[in-house]
């Protein structure tokens, strides 16, 4: 697995400077959260890291080489519902394998893809729903499908853009536990964007705080709390307060 380095990345949309020389790195297998005020460019940063949009200046390196969606294996979990409605749950999970194998001109066998998709669906507890269409399952389950679809390619870097933002509190709490369980088992490098400080402290090994627009790195805080974490633990609350103070823009 790989070391991710973001070097002096700036992004400008016309006259609007969104990212201002953002630099940081993410260690191999690390779970990092990025926190910041709403509309500060978190999503833009993630999209640059995924290679979906080019940086205006600066670069993203994976193990010292410029990021390339073909050479590097990247997955993305989007904030908005992203399941393909014409594919079943297992079809959606297989889709990222199919795309990967088409992009790289490899020929992954159908049996192989089925096997891998089945394994991950089993792991996230969606095996029984493999043949359902997205409209037949709940919003929380759809997001679990998106997570399974992101993990199934065994990515070098998994980017998650407020994946639980649209969900209700209970589902969100459940999926936070789920994502930790999956990450502990599969150990991928994760960059997780959230506007919830609590979520960042609950999930991450390290939380990076961005300033308001244009986004710069305001601070990086290690979260050295043992798992499983407890929202009521005094050290949890201390850390949450510390990050809240950093993020205040009012």
């Amino acid at each position: 697995m790989k070391l991710i380095q973001v070097e002096e990345v700036s992004k400008r949309f016309g006259d609007l400077l969104v990212l201002d020389r953002v630099s940081f790195s993410v260690g191999d297998g690390e779970f990092m959260c990025i926190c910041g005020p709403t509309g500060c460019g978190k999503t833009t940063l993630l999209r640059v890291m995924a290679g979906l949009i080019p940086a205006t200046m600066g670069r993203v390196l994976v193990d010292g080489q410029p990021l390339d969606p073909l050479r590097h294996n990247i997955s993305f979990v989007f904030q908005e519902p992203s399941c393909l409605p014409w594919k079943t749950v297992s079809g959606n999970v297989r889709f990222s394998l199919e795309t990967r194998s088409a992009a790289l001109r490899q020929n992954l066998s159908k049996a192989d893809m089925d096997e891998r998709a089945g394994r991950i669906l089993d792991f996230v507890g969606l095996q029984e729903f493999a043949h359902y269409y997205p409209h037949q399952i709940s919003a929380g389950m759809k997001q679990r499908v998106a997570i399974a679809r992101a993990f199934v390619t065994e990515p070098d870097l998994l980017l998650m853009d407020e994946p639980f933002g649209y969900l209700d509190v209970q589902t969100r709490y459940f999926l936070e536990k789920e994502i930790l369980r999956i990450w502990e088992k599969l150990r991928r490098t994760v960059v997780f964007v959230t506007h919830s400080i609590e979520e960042a402290v609950y999930l991450s090994e390290r939380t990076m705080v961005l300033t308001e627009l244009p986004a710069r790195v305001s601070a990086t805080i290690p979260v050295n709390l043992p798992q499983p974490r407890d929202y009521d633990d005094p050290s949890f609350m201390d850390l949450r307060r510390k990050i809240t103070d950093l993020i205040k823009w009012w």
Binding site: L52, F76, A103
Partner: protein, 259 residues
Amino acid sequence: MKQRRWQDSILGLIVLLGFLAAWQLAAVVVRSPFLPGVTDTVGAFTDLALHGDLEGYSLLTHVAVSLTRIAAGFGLACLLGIPLGLLMGLYPSVYRSARTIVEPIRFIPPIAWIPIVIVVIAGFSRYLFIIWLGAFFPILISTLAGIPRVNPVHLDVARVHGAPRGYLIRRVVIPSVLPEIFAGMRVGLGVGWMCIVAAEMLGGENIGLGRLILKYAELFKLDYSVAGMVLIGLLGLLLNEAFIQAEKRFFRWRWEVTL
């Protein structure tokens, strides 16, 4: 839900019977050969079905010939309309440059083309052209208009993994616009079917449902003409129903079925 459907069908049947009764009553009161009643129409239909028309062509021949013409014109419209719609949707510059031709032509009704068609083309191509003209534009426009509605997130899902452009088109764009394409095909089939009478009016052969109506109208045997009209209406309805059923099967993943 099920009870509601039952009530709807019973209500529909009552309205239909009421309409037929009113029609028959009007025919009895007026008592004119120019207003055939229900019984006259059914009689004419039975005669056509049993003995064929006055030239000996069976009703089935008329139906089969008309359906063949529709299939050819509609098939050609799909063959041209879908790829061109995709091309214009995917490359808006193509549409922008073709718009000055496409848009005005679209609003010329197929019937307006008849005089020039009579002069310029002959034989089977006449039917083909008129039906194609009716079916082509709904298919082209639906396909074209569906493409901007492709959800950008669905494209990103594939792009994150480095999907090349052709893959995005085949695996994301086309499945996304398929319901729109189908809706356009259904409308196109309907319009093409409505052009059948116009097309057969100018075709030379004496077969086809449109021709059947004209043949008897010239003899003032309007009961036969009306029987032909009813048959055209029912067949059109059947084609449309078949299409909707196909759509329902095909797009099971869509919870809103277009109607």
